[in-house]
Symmetry: C2
Subunit: 222 residues, 2 copies
């Protein structure tokens, strides 16, 4: 595994910051991207404080995209259309890890919001940027747990994408994080199910006052 930096686009949010913290703690160089450079720099400082010796820097999203070959999209679904409209050319050929889930809350019930033109955020990204190597992953772990860096992680990271090599790269990244197992879920069309699980877990979390994750039982040993 190279130690090329992993750039978290929209990495000042809870999910992005949580993942950046975990990867920094695992020794991976990370870049925090934000629409506002000052916020990116502040978040990088947060990571550096939590993980002494971390290799981390903050930069404006567009610069982080331009300079990184491994991107993790961690901003809210509401920002996806404009991100793709302005940034799609810069994604071509890159590993694009999609952590986005189109969520809405109605009367306390978490539900998937419809995605215009696709069955999931992951599929929308891949359709919009055919030359990107999109892998949906990390959709089913609580942002709170990720940020709570003393809390052990557990469960499976389901990942899907149309490029088997890209899936293997993401599986190797998952392997950097103690407690997590990567599960290859095949093509990007499965992203809709990963996103459905997010909504279910949020409803379970609310009902059971938990930070649930999932495990797939019955798979053969790798």
């Amino acid at each position: 595994m190279s130690i090329e930096a992993i750039a978290f686009i929209g990495g000042t949010g809870r999910q992005g910051l949580g993942l950046a913290l975990r990867f920094a703690a695992a020794g991976a160089p990370v870049v925090i991207g934000s629409r506002v450079a000052e916020r990116a720099v502040a978040a990088a400082e947060t990571v550096r404080t939590a993980v002494p010796g971390a290799s981390v820097r903050g930069s404006e999203n567009a610069e982080a995209v331009a300079r990184s070959k491994r991107l993790v999209l961690t901003f809210p679904f509401g920002g996806l259309a404009s991100f793709l409209a302005t940034g799609r050319a810069a994604l071509a050929g890159k590993l694009v890890i999609d952590v986005i889930v189109p969520l809405a809350v109605r009367n306390g019930f978490f539900e998937l919001a419809p995605v215009d033109g696709a069955a999931s955020a992951g599929e929308l990204i891949q359709q919009t940027v055919p030359a990107a190597r999109v892998v949906s992953a990390f959709k089913n772990h609580s942002a709170e747990t990720l940020q709570d860096i003393a809390a052990p992680l557990e469960g499976d990271v389901l990942l899907c994408g149309n490029d088997a090599g890209a899936r293997a790269e993401v599986a190797a990244l998952v392997g950097l994080l103690p407690g997590l197992r990567a599960v290859d879920a095949g093509g990007i069309a499965n992203a809709r199910y990963l996103e459905a699980i997010t909504a279910l877990l949020l409803n379970l979390n609310r009902r059971h006052k938990a930070r649930a994750s999932i495990a797939i039982l019955g798979l053969p040993k790798p």
Copy 2:
């Protein structure tokens, strides 16, 4: 727990027969329903052979519905509309356990088929028969494993429905089956996510040559 019989409507199919076998093996009286009485009787004989001493009988679906207070709907989604059109009045007031998943296969990919007028089979049933106590459950266990009665079961049975008492009844039924844990997933609107998990598991099974099930991690002990 009373030992009132559990009637499996469409119980000659793989999922229904598998569940009937497991409940019969757990000592519960079961009824196998089929559109064709002779097939129901033959399936009951199959259960009796696999589970010596089982309390099991076969009957035509309509009779099984009329005579039972606990029904498990285990026929394919394609039969749901006509079942509800003719049988809805007989479901009022009853515990209706919905195991149906609207599935389609396209180019080897399992996907959810759209449900006319609802976001899931479970929601369609509850909407169509407001007086039934509908609980979606058992959607995420392989029919093959259920039928393979020597194989241990494992994983969680997510269940959802709008009637908390009905959910508790189903949780108690799950408790009869060694190796399984019931997880209360709240209202019936979550049925769409249980059904999504079925499609995901079928895709995982195909890819990994497995009979996968799921577990929810991080829930508080009951």
